[in-house]
Each structure stands twice: as structure tokens, then as C-alpha cells.
Symmetry: C2
């Protein structure tokens, strides 16, 4: 048995490639609104749950102690492009706790934002851990460790108090017991815990509504959502889907992707959570599905639909700028009547 095709990639009029996967949309009570494919299958949410991983930062009091504003909270939830403002925001978070980049255990990689990567090359500088797309999340973890007064070294290990708090948070949000058999190591060295897609969607419905959460967690979730809505540049970066979608939609949609074809969203006004996993790990497909689902599920004006439509049905141009194909979400993603 296989999951359905969620996205087709056309070259001219022929389907050149196709992406299968699963989609789940649930309400805050956990009732399924839309399910395509095997939504019981555990998936590694990767960076899609950075906002869940940031809840202890707010709930512990660390965010207040270190006077974090919207930019700091947004980048703690973000996978940024390594642009200069991202680097300085992560650096600022660390400085508030008396730390610098040397405390980060995420590893270094080039900025995904090409002009920023080129600027480093021109300056003869190697990328630092601050350029890692996860540096805001990691700065948040370090601040939690400092605030709790525990040894910050090894804060990426599953047994470290910070990761234990993160795991407990994800377990509660998703109603899923996360044992060692569900644990993988993420690109930035922290644990990533495999969660059934339906439970992941339920977690986002709760995160978006506060429904079923204790008052402190509901308040922390609302604070993170508001921060991301006000500073969406810090969740992703120039020209990227999450940034442009939240710039346009504000608090009406929290959207966040993860590596290997994951995309999650919370639609507070509709009381819905969304989780998408493309079987093959393709980000191009997950993004098109996520954009398509927002168009399908939200009440949008023409301008909003146009912004999302560029990500739902991107045109593929070749090196000469000639249109050679397009990406098209399947009818099951776009057209089915919401039950």
C-alpha cells in the first residue's frame, strides 16, 4: 500500500516527477477534518516543531529574564537563512545570557541566502554556528539552561534537562509517548522525535488555539505565535514561503517547514492544525501542499491567494528564464470538500 500522489511536477504537458505523501488536518479536539494517506505513521517532524521546542524558553521564564522581544522569540521558532539580521539576533540572545557563538553546539553551515553566503566568501570568513539555520533555536536552548542553572554543555543530548523539557512538551502537545525507539539525531544534533502525523497535526491545532493546554502553556503558545506573526522574517528569510505567508496572513496562520518534506501549520481562526509529510522528503512538494491547503482551508482575499498561489503552483524556469514546467498539487489536496 502506498500514500497518494500529493504533487505532480510537469515538464511541458507531461508529468516528469510525482511526490507521494500524507496530509492530516485536525481540529483542537483531535477530530480529523482531512486525511490523505497513512496519517498514523510516525514521522520525524524535524524543524517543523521548533515552536514547540521553544515553549520551555517562554514557560520557564527565561525569555522574560533575558528580555526577549518578538525577534528573539521568532528566531527561536525559525529556520533562518543566515542573513545578517538573523546572525545578530542569535548573537544578541546569547549575549543576554552572557554567552557567545562558541557555546552553540549546532555546527556551522553556509547561509542558504546566497548574497549572505557570497558576502562571507568575499570577506574570507568561514560560516560560524550563528549562520546555522537553527542558531536561534539553539540560543534559546542555551538560555533555558542558563536560566535553570544547569550545566549548559551538552545541552543537545536527549538526557540533558533542556531536551527532557522539550520532549515532555512535545509529548503533551501531541499526546504521544516518545521513547528512545522514536529518537533520531537532527541536522543540528538535538533529538528529533518521530510522531504520528495525525498527532502532529493535533499538536498544531492545540498550539494555535490553546485548547486543551494549561493556561501558562496556552499563553506561551500565543506569545510565540504573535512574535512570529510580527517578525516573520526571523522565522525564515528573504523570499521564503513561511516569511511571506505570515507577512501577509499575520496571526491567522502559523506555518513552519522541516527537512525531509515536512510542513506544519496552525490556523487559529479555524481551530485547525495541519501536518504534511512527503514520503520522499521533497521540500518542493511539502511547500506546494502546505500552500495549497491554506488556500483551500482559509478565507482569503485575492491578494492573499496570489501570494500563496506562487508557492502552491510554482512555475519552473530554466537557466535562460524560459518556462519549462510547473508544480501542481493533486486534486485531492486542493479540491476535496472539507468534511
Amino acid at each position: 500500500m502506498s500514500n497518494p500522489v500529493l504533487v505532480e511536477v510537469l515538464r511541458g504537458e507531461l508529468v516528469e516527477s510525482a511526490h507521494r505523501g500524507a496530509v492530516c488536518v485536525v481540529d483542537a479536539d483531535g477530530a480529523t477534518v482531512l486525511a490523505l494517506g497513512d496519517v498514523a505513521q510516525p514521522v520525524f517532524p524535524r524543524s517543523a516543531v521548533k515552536a514547540f521546542q521553544a515553549l520551555p524558553l517562554v514557560e520557564s521564564g527565561a525569555a522574560d529574564r533575558y528580555r526577549f522581544g518578538d525577534q528573539e522569540l521568532a528566531i527561536a521558532c525559525g529556520s533562518h537563512s543566515g542573513e545578517p539580521a538573523h546572525v545578530t539576533a542569535a548573537e544578541r540572545m546569547l549575549a543576554r545570557a552572557g554567552l557567545d557563538a562558541s557555546a552553540l553546539e549546532c555546527g556551522a553551515h553556509r547561509p542558504s541566502h546566497h548574497p549572505s553566503a557570497d558576502a562571507l566568501v568575499r570577506a574570507g570568513r568561514a560560516p560560524s554556528p550563528l549562520h546555522n539555520n537553527c542558531s536561534g533555536k539553539h540560543a534559546g536552548f542555551l538560555c533555558v539552561a542558563c536560566h535553570l542553572g544547569v550545566d549548559r554543555h551538552g545541552y543537545v543530548a536527549p538526557e540533558h534537562p533542556v531536551q527532557r523539557a522539550v520532549r515532555a512538551t512535545i509529548e503533551e502537545l501531541t499526546s504521544t509517548a516518545l521513547g528512545e525507539d522514536r529518537c533520531g539525531v537532527d541536522g543540528c544534533s538535538v533529538p528529533t522525535w518521530a510522531v504520528p502525523l495525525k498527532n502532529l497535526a493535533h499538536g498544531f491545532a492545540r498550539f494555535g488555539t490553546g485548547h486543551g493546554l494549561d493556561a501558562a502553556r496556552a499563553k506561551a503558545a500565543a506569545r510565540l505565535r504573535a512574535a512570529c506573526a510580527r517578525e516573520p522574517f526571523f522565522v525564515a528569510g528573504t523570499g521564503r514561503f513561511a516569511t511571506l505567508a505570515m507577512e501577509r496572513l499575520g496571526e491567522r496562520a502559523f506555518v513552519k517547514g522541516g527537512a525531509e518534506g515536512v510542513f506544519c501549520a496552525a490556523l487559529p481562526d479555524h481551530g485547525l492544525g495541519i501536518a504534511v509529510k512527503c514520503d520522499d522528503g521533497a521540500g518542493r512538494a511539502a511547500e506546494a501542499v502546505a500552500a495549497g491547503l491554506l488556500i483551500r482551508l482559509m478565507k482569503l482575499d485575492a491578494g492573499e491567494r496570489a501570494v500563496l498561489g506562487r508557492f502552491a503552483r510554482p512555475v519552473l524556469n530554466n537557466w535562460n528564464g524560459i518556462e519549462v514546467g510547473r508544480v501542481r498539487p493533486a486534486a485531492a489536496v486542493l479540491n476535496d470538500t472539507v468534511s
Copy 2:
């Protein structure tokens, strides 16, 4: 109905992503030796058939007229990384026909080889069409046009004499009629023609053996294969699979990938042609399958198996260099008995 899983991507011990697709191995008579999935489905071969596209360069006499050696012929068959030696080889081909980079209609992109891309940035230079991975192929097309005495402008159009010759060559090698309904525009603006996977594999069996080809074509194919075996750096580049495989295996294997998850190979000693298409377009999967098939089908020594094994079962490391997962071809790819 869906194609089988060809490759699994594990994070820790859990399958995080999986790639479906089709595989066909045939002999030079067109008899199927191995078939997984729908091998009758037409697929765009993209750059995997650059060697077929280079046959008119040799058959027309252009390669002799312009005194092309192994490097020029290999890069005409190649998808290079934009390293300095690649750029100068393509430039040399053009100069032999009295042309320069301004004649290329492939468009420009950054070298895929990071140090070469960085060197351009440091020099404050934009990538030129010579850096396009297809510049050797395009230089070959231009040389054919000049040799034939036809207008070189618009040599990328389907109706241009050069592309008509290329189409006829692919039609004959693959026993496939290529009408307009099979035509897409490739990344470098030339036509790419959709061919059933089995016919594509048959084309490579013929290319590798000369069986069923007229004497001139068989000789041209052997010349291109020998050139690629002697100068495999010009088919791909530093550290890449096609280059390392052919460095190690010489004329025993001609291997060439294409965009969107295509990989083809010819095994002359075994009289076999191989074609792989991953449904989702994933290059990581196509490469692992191709490497796995070479291990399965060829008689290899331990050193050869080790070189190919690094591509068949690559280890995935994160930004800290920690092993977080691996890529694993499915049992159906590796273990089935060859019929």
C-alpha cells in the same frame, strides 16, 4: 498502482523517507534482464543521454575536423561541475570552430563545485554559460552546426538541423518515435524527449556494445565511451559518482545521470544497458540505485566494490559530522537473482 520503493533513507533505525521508481536492465537484443516497476512509462532522460546527443558530433566528422581529443569528447557527453579545467575545455571546443562563449545558448549558472563557485565570487565575476554544466554538450552542438554550414543561431530549437539529427539518433538507438507530444524543454533549453524506460535501457545496451547499430555509429559510440573512460573528470567532476566510477572501472562501465532522478549505464562486457528513474526526481536515490546495480551486475574486486559502495549506501552526517542516518537501496535492487 505504484512503482516499488527503490531506496530508503534512514534516520537512526527508522525509515525517514523512501523513494519509489522503476529500473530496467536489458541486453543488446532488447531482452529484459531485470525490471522493477513500470518500465513502459516514458521518462525524460534529461542529461543521461548526453552521449547519445554527442553522436552526431562524431558521426558528422565535426569532431575530426576540429581535432577533438578525449577531453573534448568526454565533456560533450558530460554534466560538469564548472571547475576551471571544464571551462577551458568547453572554451577550447568553441575556439576550434571560431566561436566563443557568446555563442552558447544554454544560459549561465553557478559551478556546482563549491570552491570554483567561491573563486568566482572572490574574483567578482558572474558565472558565464561556460560554467553551465551543459557547456560541453552545447559547444559540441555548435561545432556540428558550423561543420554542417548551417546557421548556428537557435541551435537549441527542436526544428534546427542539429536537434533534428539528435532526435533521429535517439529515435534509432531507442527504437522510439519521438513526436512533439514527447518533447519537453531541458534546463539548458534544448529539447528533451520522453522515452519508455525499457527503450532507454536498450539504447544504452546498443551504445555499449554497438550491437544493432551501423558500423559508423558503433564506431562513434566506442570512441565516445573510450574518451569518457580515459577522461572521466570531464564527464562530471571532483568527487562525483560518474567520475569516480569510470576512473575505477574504465571502459567496463559507462555511467551518466540526468536531472529529476534519472541514471543510465552501459556495461559493454556484460552486453547490458541500465535505466533508472525515481518517480520523485531524487538524484540521491537514482545514484544509490545505479551504484547498487553496478555492484550487483558486474564482476568487481574488493576495491571496486568499496568505491561503488560509498555511493550505493552513503552515510548521512550532520553539521557536526555526526552520523545521523544512511541511504539504503531496497532488497529488490540489490539482492534479486539476475534472471
